[in-house]
Amino acid sequence: MIPQTPAESSLAVKALAPSMERIELPALFARSWPAQTPFTPKRQRALVDLSQRILRDVILRNDPASVVLGYWLRRANIGRLAREFCDRVDRSPEVVHVPTGRVFHVAPANVDTVFLYSWAVAYLCGNANIVRVTGQQSPVLARLLALVAEQMETDDELRAANVFLTYAHDDKISGDISKWCTHRVLWGGDETVSYFRSLPLSPHASERAFSSKYSYAVVSASSYRTASDETVASLAQGFFNDVFTFNQMGCSSPHLVIWIGSEPDFEAVVPRFNATLREEIARRNYRGAASNATHRLRHAFDLACEAEVDFNPSEREFLAITLREPARLRKRICGAGLFTHVRANGLAEVVALVEPHDQTITHFGFSSEELCEFARLAGNGGIDRLVPFGEALSFDVIWDGYDLIGDCLRHVLVRSTHPGAQKHSMRSQPGAHSTIPCGDSRATFVATIE
């Protein structure tokens, strides 16, 4: 963190990768900030290299979230994104895809890996990036940044096109970087989003904001009741990951388990669900922070004053509240392993509960037709993702209902002015400036990174 002493009153930030104690804003903006065509092999390779660094790192390979990030950045997944980009190019023959240019990412402070996903997408798309991370870095975040800095030493383009930095919140610095960028990505709560929205962008710039979200699980009670012990154990594993990875503070971590089914089914499945989670916690020998239990109790007692619930106050590492008055349901976030079981008669009742801040539903026991129908019915009311148990936190380039790759590109329309003339498509070729169509180059560039 930069102490705000008079001696340092000129605007400066601390660059963490490339590592520099202090860089003045004019010098920061004067860097070359090279942009590239989207999905160059070099940039793909940079991410694959970073993946290997993360997965080999002694500290990070013991951090589940970092391992997931490492896998996300590995060759197979980056190759998939590149192929999807080619499909995009093929689908729009009248569009040339170019990078949006300069992207300013504001990362959340406690979900350590988010900044790298956000950055990786923008970098792949050919952009230059400034990434603001929190001043209070966890060991994991510090290690991730150190690996990026290390890689920058041997990758000139990586070093020139990106600065990961931090500064004590400062309207002027945030304002100046906001004017610098062509696209701003805000990860944070509603307050962060509102705050940054008071800082104007260039009139030509765009913005994507990821604000406070609420997520829950929806389960077919009859399917769960008849599921094998093996199935419910694997659901408990998935639920554990969804809930405990960021101490239940990831925006897609579930806070409710909504059971669709009859009352007898509900009464039967809730104890089974809690028991399997208890076993999963024991199996992993999981111990959360010392203050988690009192944090959960505060929330649970408060709820018990207001609604017909029951729970076991001495449950270890989690607190499962059974709410018997669904009308009293309040979408409050506690975190630290507290969730509420509630029953509904059908998915239509869940649709009625959906609110604009609702993001992820983790589901079990429904057909894809039922889920698609649910998404259509919820419509613009809310809900951005429906994913199986265990995948709540899996990052994808479709996030919060938006196409992040599309966000990081400018879609230049090129249409022939000669009526009747044969259309010829202007295509962006990943990794190549030649004129061979993308379909043909696909093999070329996939080969390049392998």
């Binding site: 959340p108 509102s194 239940q248 990831g250 203050s291 239990a293 009192t294 018990a304 270890r316």
Partner: protein, 367 residues
């Protein structure tokens, strides 16, 4: 008045540190059972909690104090918990803890207010004597100026004014130490040894530490006493050990009798005073249970856990059994020259690190 006072009378009629632990525990358990029944009948929210959290009416029939229902002390910040009619409330004690901006609201009727102040008097007199001694408040006078809304610090000072005479505030508005004023006050009140009183971190930061830094040494009457309360919540990173605190008081302020006490707005009166072993001594009026912070299982002597405080006094609000977020260790009983068990306060649970996707701005607010 529906509560049978027999058990309470047994606790009150003898000197405050006279009942052996087992006997006190037996009588206190009986009193707490009465109070649990009383609040169950009088406070709808409490009744709901008994049913929703503690398994219903059978929870009223405990025989061990450890099995008595308890409330998290934070609940008084979010819920109106009252076991008396609104028009019987004579005073609402408010206090903000360190957890957020919410304020506890404690509703006292005449009976509870009286029980609490009588207990406070009896316990405190045990340590400072019955005679009202000159009182030097280690704070500035504006801490209590606005009586409508004083802080927990102001409330502690107000309570202590009962035990001293001619209170003198030895800090100036800017927290600097008024040494000349203090010398003159000591000169004019030399008949009896004074009591110095203040909140732990204020006493340390604005009284003992500045004296030590300046290499100064006060001269005070021989039996002067320093009482402090409140702990280190405000200055966690500057926290000094109780031993260092006492030694410094001896070296720079010439005060050889130093004692802290532990209490809270939610259980005024039944405070825990530091005994000769420097542990916090339970009186007849109250007791302490240490619980595992995770499973809430009661812990034996020597193991660190959450402090649950149990008091015989709260009638107008269900605050007779409260789970705090302080950490403590039971240290024993009967070896302190007083009856009843004692514990050591070892700190406070750190606030849960619950910042998720929604925290970049809160971080801003903290800076």
């Amino acid at each position: 008045m529906t509560v049978e006072l027999n058990a309470l009378e047994q606790l009150r009629e003898t000197p405050p540190f006279s009942l052996p632990q087992a006997e006190k525990r037996r009588i206190l358990t009986s009193r707490v059972r009465e109070l649990t029944q009383h609040h169950y009948e009088r406070c709808k929210t409490y009744r709901n909690l008994i049913h929703r959290v503690f398994g219903g009416k059978k929870a009223l029939e405990f025989t061990n104090l450890e099995d008595a229902p308890f409330l998290p002390v934070s609940l008084f910040k979010t819920q109106e918990l009252r076991s008396t009619e609104a028009d019987k409330v004579v005073k609402v004690v408010t206090s903000s803890g360190t957890t957020g901006q919410a304020v506890s609201r404690i509703y006292l009727d005449a009976e509870t207010a009286q029980l609490q102040s009588q207990a406070m008097v009896k316990i405190t007199q045990h340590f400072v004597g019955v005679q009202r001694r000159p009182l030097i408040v280690v704070d500035h006078s504006s801490a209590v100026r606005n009586r409508g809304s004083y802080s927990a610090r102001g409330a502690a000072i107000m309570a202590m004014l009962l035990f001293g005479r001619r209170p003198f505030y030895c800090l100036r508005e800017d927290f600097s130490l008024d040494l000349e004023g203090l010398a003159e006050y000591l000169h004019q009140n030399s008949d009896l040894a004074p009591i110095f009183f203040g909140v732990t971190y204020v006493v340390w930061k604005y009284f003992l530490e500045p004296l030590a830094r300046a290499g100064q040494r006060l001269t005070v009457p021989k039996d002067s006493m320093l009482l402090h309360t409140g702990g280190w919540k405000k200055l966690q990173n500057q926290s000094v050990s109780p031993k260092e605190f006492r030694q410094t008081a001896e070296e720079v302020a010439d005060i050889h009798r130093v004692a802290s006490f532990y209490g809270m707005a939610e259980q005024v009166g039944s405070v825990f005073f530091e005994n000769d072993l420097h542990f916090l001594q339970a009186s007849n009026y109250s007791d302490v249970i240490i619980r595992d912070a995770n499973t809430l299982e009661p812990l034996p002597h020597g193991q660190e856990g959450l402090v649950q405080v149990v008091s015989s006094l709260p009638v107008s609000y269900p605050g007779h059994s409260l789970l705090t977020e302080d950490l403590g260790v039971l240290r024993g009983e009967g070896q302190s020259g007083m009856q009843g068990q004692y514990f050591e306060l070892v700190g406070r649970l750190p606030e849960a690190e619950l910042r998720g996707c929604s925290d970049t701005f809160q971080e801003r607010a903290r800076q």
